[in-house]
Every structure is written in C-alpha cells, then in structure tokens.
C-alpha cells in the first residue's frame, strides 16, 4: 500500500513539474522583442507620441511583444539600412520614405506582404489607395502606407507686412516677393530658404513650371530633365541665389525652423510637421500658409510620406502585429496630433483629424501633388539631380550644361531598372 501511495505521489509530482515547465516554457518561447527603426522627429512631438503613447499601448495589447524603437535622422536611416543589409543586421520593421521602397525591393530585403500575410487584404482596404500604391512594386505590396504628406508655402507674416508685399500666387510673383523681402546688410534677411536642393526640393518648381524629370514611363531623362522650361526655372532660382534672396541649403545657413520663426527667412516650403515643430520651439510664433505658387504647370507639389515595411529577416508574426497597430485608427489619430496625415480611412474621418485646421491646406494640396519617380535607382538619380542643380544654382556652370550632363547620367540609371 505504502508503495502504491509513493508511486502516486511521484507521478503527481512528475506531472506538476512537467505542467509548470511547459507553462514557463511556452511563455518564454513566445516573448519576442522586435526592433523598429524610424525617423520620427525628436524636435517635434512625433517621437514622444511613438515612445510614450503608441508603443506602451501596443505592448499592453500584445504583452508578449516588446518593441525596441530606434530613432535615426532621415538620411542616416537610409544609409543605416543599406549598411545593415550588407552585414545582415536589419531590424524587423522600419518606417521608410516612400521614395526608398522600390530600391529596398530591388535589394530583395522586403517581405511581399500580400503573399505572406493572410489578412493583408482586410488590412489594406482600410488604408487609402493612393498612399498604398507607393508600397506596390511590380504588382506586389512591400509595405503598408503609414502616413502621407506634401508641402505648402509657409510665410513670415510680419516680414511680409513690413515689406508691404502680398502672398505670391504665381511663380513670377514668388521670385519678385522673395527679392523684395531680402535684405543684405546688417542681419541679413532672405526671401526664400530651401534646406536642400534634392528632388524633394526642386521637383515642385520643375513640375509647377510645366517641366518633367523623365518621360511618363520613367525610361529616359534626356529631352525631359534638360528641357527649356527646366533650364528657365533653375536659372531663376540661380538668379535668386545670386541676388542674395535665397539660402538654406548651404552649410553655414541658419536651420530652417529657426530662420523662419526668427524673421530671417521670408518664405519656406514645408510639410505639416512644421506646425508641431514650431509649437515646441517657438510657441509665440504664428505661422501663415498659402498654396505652392502656380506656374505654367499649375500648383504642383511633391507627394511625400512613409510606408512601414517588414524585412525578410524579421520575426514576422510580431512585426506584422506592430505594422497593423501603427496603421490602425488609434495610432493614426494619435500621430495626426503631431502633423502626420493619416492614411487610415477611419482615422481621416475622426473629429481630431477633421477639426485640425493645420492639416486642411495639406489635404487640399495632396490632390495635385505628384510622387517622385517610383524607380529603384531613385536615390542615385536624386544625387545626380542634386549635384546638377547645386552646381547650377551656385553659378559654377551654365544651367543647360549641368542639366544635359545630369540627364545623360540619369538615362543610364533609369536603364538599370
């Protein structure tokens, strides 16, 4: 009898150990940490909303997933992803500029979501078609649209008042006003400031002036980039720089937000995040906005935005859960508070977004905004474009010559598709 009791005890104990072990074992196995690389701006509330509101809320919803968010500067993030590709140390998820997606797809590092995620269609149908198209390469979707944006004209009202000029509606007026606002002696004032001379900065002028970067099929740049309209508009910018009415892209220039709010820059072309940045750094300052001045091609700005993408090395289940969360209504409404225009249809209908008067001019401008050429070599094309435009604007070489040379090089890059 004793013997039997002993055996029963041992069996019970054994079962208990196994059960406990299994319980702990399962818990330990399911606990995952995913890393999320992004370029949410630390100067605006974006980063704070991500780390203090969104991630805690996600981790509460998915207790077994931890999100490690790593912030980068915009251009550093692109570089970091390329370098990490070569060393095979990519994160699980990243917030990628829409202009990078074709390039990453070509590098074969992104997960085609429509093929691998069973509920992709249900998730995608909640998001706007236009922004979702930026994640589509050769028929497959390599990301989810995360936010969209474009730029409008921000002008410094007190500078305008003291110069006695009105807000420019056309490109010609824009150049004239920029000159009138500028002052070269003492503490100089520049009528217009542009933080760089890349496609993001120059395309709006080219398109609004009726020019193009490439043909409609993105096969060739010669005959398009070096057209008469483009030479004309770049020359006008070069003249503006020569006359001391344009700055911002040079190394020694005052940072954009500071120059604008401190009354040193009369006009800048910026996105919806600028409101939140100004709110933090210059709460007293009241920004004023207007549409991009129109030219022969209308008022055409560049379409910006980000997709959230998953890398092939990711822990897919957890990564997908986080991507769905970030494109969900709650996260999108929260991010809209920092000036990130939602792409989630329900979020766009929410009162927070609809009553946000700062977002309205952008929602209007998006209707005519155009994306940069969605080609895998765009980052390289962009560099050639920047180089040519910078040389032109600095007056180092004739504009036509710069654009001719750039067009030839870009032809080769387009052919490498």
């Amino acid at each position: 009898m004793l013997k039997k009791a002993f055996v029963v005890k041992v069996v019970w104990l054994g079962l208990l150990v196994v059960a406990l072990g299994a319980a702990f074992g399962v818990a330990a196995k399911e606990q995952v940490t995913i890393s999320f690389w992004h370029h949410y701006n630390a100067q605006s509330p974006e980063n704070e909303i991500l780390t203090k509101v969104l991630i805690p809320s996600f981790e509460k919803q998915y207790p077994h997933i931890k999100v490690k968010a790593v912030p980068h500067e915009w251009d550093q993030l692109h570089k970091k992803i390329l370098v990490s590709t070569s060393s095979n140390q990519l994160p699980d998820v990243a917030r990628a500029d829409i202009a990078w997606v074709p390039e990453f797809q070509k590098l074969n590092i992104l997960v085609p979501l429509n093929k691998e995620m069973a509920d992709f269609q249900t998730v995608a149908q909640d998001l706007l078609d236009g922004p979702m198209a930026t994640a589509r390469v050769k028929g497959d979707y390599y990301g989810l649209a995360l936010n969209t944006n474009t730029k409008i004209l921000f002008y410094n009202k007190s500078l305008f008042d003291s110069a006695g000029v009105s807000v420019p509606k056309t490109l010609d007026e824009f150049f004239a006003v920029a000159r009138k606002l500028s002052k070269r002696t003492g503490r100089p004032v520049w009528g217009y400031a542009e933080p760089a001379l890349a496609g993001w900065n120059i395309c709006p002028f080219i398109w609004s002036n009726g020019g193009e970067i490439t043909d409609p099929e993105y096969k060739v740049a010669s005959g398009y980039l070096n057209s008469a309209q483009n030479v004309e508009i770049i020359q006008k910018l070069a003249d503006l720089y020569r006359d001391g009415a344009m700055t911002g892209f040079t190394q020694g220039a005052i940072p954009l937000t500071d120059g604008y709010a401190q009354g040193r820059y009369g006009m800048i072309l910026e996105g919806p995040w600028k409101f939140a940045e100004l709110e933090v750094s210059y709460p007293q300052f009241e920004p004023a906005t207007a549409p991009m001045p129109a030219g022969a091609g209308g008022s055409v700005q560049v379409l910006g935005g980000e997709d959230i993408v998953m890398f092939k090395t990711a822990q897919k289940e957890a990564a997908w859960a986080f991507m769905k969360f970030m494109t969900g209504e709650f996260a999108q409404v929260e991010m809209a508070k920092a000036g990130q225009i939602p792409v989630n249809k329900k979020a766009l209908e929410s009162s927070v977004v609809r009553n946000n008067k700062n977002l309205l001019p952008f929602l209007e401008a998006i209707k005519t905004a155009r994306p940069r050429p969605p080609v895998s070599t765009w980052p390289e094309i962009d560099k050639e474009l920047t180089y040519a435009v910078t040389l032109s604007i600095l007056g180092e070489k004739p504009v036509q010559e710069c654009l001719d040379e750039a067009a030839q090089k870009i032809d080769l890059l387009l052919a490498r598709q």
Partner: protein, 312 residues
C-alpha cells in the same frame, strides 16, 4: 643526384628556426585578431575593387576587372577630392611642423611653467575631433561667433562672410582646425627630440661666436632631422586620412566642392552604394600614400654631418 646535392657540407648552414609551440600559442589571440580585422578586410577590399559589388540578399556581384579603377581615375569629382586632400596636406603638414617646432623650442628654453604650457598645448590633441569640429562650425557659421565679432563688434565688414559655404574658405576652416589640433602632438615629439641634442654642441657654438638663430639652423635642425622626417611621414599619412572635420563642417558641400578623398570614399560607399568604386579608390589612395612616403624617405636630406661642418 639529388641526394648528393642535399649532402653538400661546405655551405655554412644557418641555424634552422625551431618552431616554438608555446610561443605561437601565446601569439595566437593577437594573430587571430590581426588576421580577422586587418588582413581579411584588406584582402576582401581588394576583391571588392574588381567587382560591381552588390549588397542585397541573393544579389550577384559581377566581376568588372579594372573598371572601378578607371572610373576613379576618370572621375572629375574624385580628382577634385584628391587635389583638395593634397592642398590640405601641403598647408597643414608644414604649418604643424613649423609651429609645433617653434612652440617646442620656446618651451624647451623656459625654466618655469614648462609642464603648464605642455599641457595647454597638448589639450587640443586629446579633444575629440567631433567636438572640435562642431565648435569650429559654430565659430565659422554664417551666424557664428567670428561673423558676430567681425560685423557686429568690430564693424570691419557690412555683410556676414559665408565661411563654410564657399569651397575655398570652407576648406581653409578645416585646415585651420587640423593645424590647431596638430600643434600639440608636434610639440611633444619635437620636445623629446630637443632634449636629445647634446648641450655641449650649443656651448661650443656659442664660444665660437654663433648666435641663437645660427645655432638653431646649424645645430638644432640637423640634429633633430630624423624626428622631422618622422613627423613629416606621420603627418602626411594623417593629412590623407582627414575625414571627421570635413564631414562635420562642410559635408563635402556645396556640390562636392569641398570633398576630400575619404569623405568622397564614404559618400560613394554608403550614399551612392558604389562599394566597388570606393574599394578601388581606397587602394589608389594607399598607393599614393605609399609613394609619398617612399619619396620622403628617399629625398629627405640625410647629410647632417656636412651641415655641422659649415658651422664656423
């Protein structure tokens, strides 16, 4: 036949090196690190320089022979970058040596506060490049300290001078930083050399009636010539490796006009993703540096005995 050759007794044999196993065992950790982190990257880089190197998953790198090297040689921006580097070397190396030697001679000649001055001049050397570059950037910015002094305080000019925006002045600022940061190192090296010059030589010279300046040119300089050569070689290599200051202050802008060899290499590798080009450039640079070093060793005067002979 072969046996006969092997048995030839008249060649005095050197003692064969015995394999010292414990010795090799002790060397092993260092050797492994050296092979892994120095030899392997150098060889891998050489291989990369002959390929159109791809980094994507499952992408094939294509062998292109010397194409990358030809591209580097033909590239006008690369030529600009290398000429900027050469100018940087030509400006900073002699300035650092002259000023560093001057400071060393002065410190050597004083009786008190030697250590204080040594520490003060050495401080820039141990300051981080990043911090020094950012401080210089702040000083030379359009709205920076120098423009404030020149325009608002001294009223020397009406307009702010865009130091960092123009290629020539932007590079000048980087050169200034290089010199400022290098003086201390030269000072220490030359101070050590000066202490090695026998004081009897100076005594003899002054008895023979030669003044301080003559003594400097006919005793000090010839006696520390090897140190000058050492400094020259080290600083030239250092000048070719200039990166942080340029990257932070001008970033190669505007339009790659202020690019130096390493910033251009970095740009081609990590921004333009042309790793093959960057690898080829790094090998071309290594060749240039080797060439310059060989020339320095070959053509640097070695006849200090003759110069001492001219003393009287």
């Amino acid at each position: 036949m072969t046996q006969a050759v092997l048995k030839m007794p008249e060649i005095p044999k050197r003692k064969t090196i015995k394999v010292n196993y414990p010795f090799i065992f002790l060397l092993l950790p260092g050797l492994v690190v050296f092979l892994l982190f120095t030899v392997y990257p150098i060889v891998k880089l050489l291989v990369m320089s002959f390929f159109d190197w791809q980094i994507g998953f499952g992408q094939k790198s294509v062998f292109v022979g010397l194409k990358n090297y030809l591209q580097v040689i033909k590239d006008p921006i690369c030529r600009k970058a290398i000429s900027n580097t050469l100018i940087y070397a030509l400006v900073t190396v002699p300035s650092q040596i002259v000023i560093g030697l001057g400071v060393a001679v002065l410190i050597h000649s004083i009786k008190r506060f030697k250590i204080t001055f040594r520490v003060l001049y050495y401080l820039p050397v141990i300051t981080s490049w990043v911090i020094a570059a950012l401080v210089f950037k702040y000083i030379f910015n359009n709205e920076g300290f120098l423009n404030y002094v020149l325009t608002d305080l001294l009223r020397l000019t009406e307009n702010y001078i865009p130091w960092l925006d123009r290629p020539a002045t932007g590079l000048f600022v980087a050169q200034l930083l290089g010199i400022w940061k290098g003086i201390g190192w030269n000072m220490v090296v030359f101070l050590a050399a000066l202490q090695g010059v026998p004081p009897e030589l100076y005594e003899a010279a002054s008895i023979d009636g030669s003044g301080k300046i003559k003594q400097f040119f006919y005793i000090t300089l010839p006696m520390i010539k090897n140190t000058i050569l050492f400094a020259l070689v080290m600083l030239s290599i250092g000048a070719f490796n200039v990166f942080t200051s340029i990257q932070l202050m001008t970033g190669g802008k505007p339009a790659h006009q202020t690019e130096v060899a390493l910033t251009w290499m970095y740009y081609k590798a990590f921004e333009a993703r042309d790793f093959g080009y960057a690898a080829a450039l790094s090998y071309i640079l290594a060749m240039i540096i080797t060439l310059i070093t060989i020339m320095l060793f070959k053509y640097f005067p070695k006849d200090h005995a003759q110069r001492i002979g001219k003393l009287t």
